[in-house]
């Protein structure tokens, strides 16, 4: 196979785009996809201070590199989950990467919040992945607001977005379907959230990370074994294999035709947000989700172990 742009020997074949690229031209293609997403959805304005949520995986580190190369003012934030055999490597990958680029970087340690994931997992019966996701979102958002960042960027890719959209569609979860998308505007107590890599698949980002020598962690989270997303991901990868472009069409057509309908529906029945009575964070309940988790962990810790 030959590179579409320069006819050199190709390194990456992309059936969904019906094309292939050499090692020099491929990163340019990836950058243009991200640039186009940012431009089309007006994700980042000139002068925005961008906080990038980084996990140590290829997606968030690639996002950091791309935003930096596109000239945006980026600062990294990592939430250290304190999971044995996983978190130390993840944190080190982030630290090394930001040091190499000379970009500012901060770590929030859940252990210091009394919410180390193994502790939370041992105290709370709910699936740990959803609790962990909730905690991460909370601290990313809190840090962004308290430190004057106008945009919070995450490394979500097309596969993440499609499998989440598909999961929500399977349940016809109208309230999730009303606000899923690559941009969530700022609202009372919530930073603006953007997903500049939403048009790139996991495979496309993996190739980019390899060619640009991004030193990321490869092993997954030891707790994520039974999440339902991997099922949807493999289903979609089969579908994409038979119908090139199915993923991006499913997602883009939802954004164009589906989401507005659900968003109009949601306007009538939005629960108003008010400050959490414990920490002041906006919530639709009296006490916010994170404070409830904190309380559950505390109560369980004080109860006699059976």
């Amino acid at each position: 196979m030959k590179c579409r742009k320069c006819k050199a020997l190709a390194a990456v074949a992309l059936p969904s785009h019906n094309t292939a690229f050499c090692p020099d031209c491929y990163p340019v293609f990836v950058r243009s996809q991200v640039e186009r997403a940012i431009h089309r959805h007006k994700m980042i304005a000139p002068g925005d201070r961008v906080l990038v949520a980084v996990s140590g995986g290829k997606d968030s580190l690639a996002l950091t590199l791309l935003l930096h190369e596109l000239g945006h003012d980026v600062h990294g934030l990592h939430v250290d989950l304190d999971i044995p055999g996983s978190s130390t490597d993840a944190r080190a990958a982030c630290e090394g990467f930001f040091a190499k680029l000379g970009l500012p970087f901060t770590v929030v340690e859940l252990r210091r919040e009394g919410l180390a994931i193994p502790l939370v997992k041992s105290r709370i019966k709910r699936p740990i992945c959803s609790v962990c996701g909730k905690l991460k979102r909370h601290y990313f958002n809190k840090f962004a607001l308290e430190n004057g960042f106008s945009v919070l960027a995450t490394g979500h890719n097309l596969d993440d977005e499609v499998s989440r959209l598909f999961a929500n569609t399977m349940r016809w979860d109208a309230s999730y379907l009303s606000d899923q998308g690559p941009v969530l505007p700022a609202a009372d107590g919530f930073a603006r959230k953007v997903k500049p890599m939403y048009r790139l698949t996991e495979f496309e980002i993996a190739n980019f990370s390899f060619l640009r020598g991004i030193d990321h962690v490869i092993a997954g989270c030891p707790y994520s074994g039974r999440a339902s997303f991997p099922v949807y991901k493999s289903l979609w990868s089969d579908l994409e294999g038979r119908m090139h472009g199915a993923k991006v069409q499913f997602y883009e057509n939802f954004l164009r035709d589906g989401r507005p309908v659900f968003a109009a529906w949601a306007e009538h029945r939005e629960d108003p947000l008010s400050p959490c009575t414990v920490c002041g964070y906006p919530t639709s309940a009296e006490v916010c989700g994170v404070c409830r988790i904190r309380e559950m962990v505390r109560v369980e810790s004080e109860a006699p172990r059976s």
């Binding site: 196979m1 190709a10 390194a11 990456v12 074949a13 059936p15 969904s16 292939a20 090692p23 996990s55 140590g56 995986g57 290829k58 997606d59 993840a90 992945c129 962990c132 996701g133 890719n157 596969d159 993440d160 698949t201 996991e202 495979f203 980002i205 993996a206 190739n207 390899f210 060619l211 962690v217 490869i218 092993a219 997954g220 989270c221 994520s224 999440a227 990868s237 089969d238 994409e240 294999g241």
Partner: protein, 65 residues
């Protein structure tokens, strides 16, 4: 022999004769968009030929949460 290492699982296997990267992926039960095929630090597209004596890394593409 073609020597193949699977990442991140760390599994190793050997193939007795030359084939293409596509054939290797098929044999491993992987789709063309689910793994990188790497030889000497170079990415191979599915049509590339693998030869006896090659050391190949097949890295499945998965992201962490």
């Amino acid at each position: 022999m073609i020597h193949v290492r699977l990442e991140p699982q760390g599994r190793e296997l050997r193939l007795p004769k030359a084939c293409t990267a596509l054939k290797l992926l098929r044999e491993l039960g992987l789709g063309v968009n689910s793994a990188l095929v790497i030889r000497d630090g170079e990415l191979l597209t599915p049509d590339r030929r693998l030869n006896i004596g090659d050391e190949i890394v097949v890295r499945t593409v998965t992201s962490r949460g």
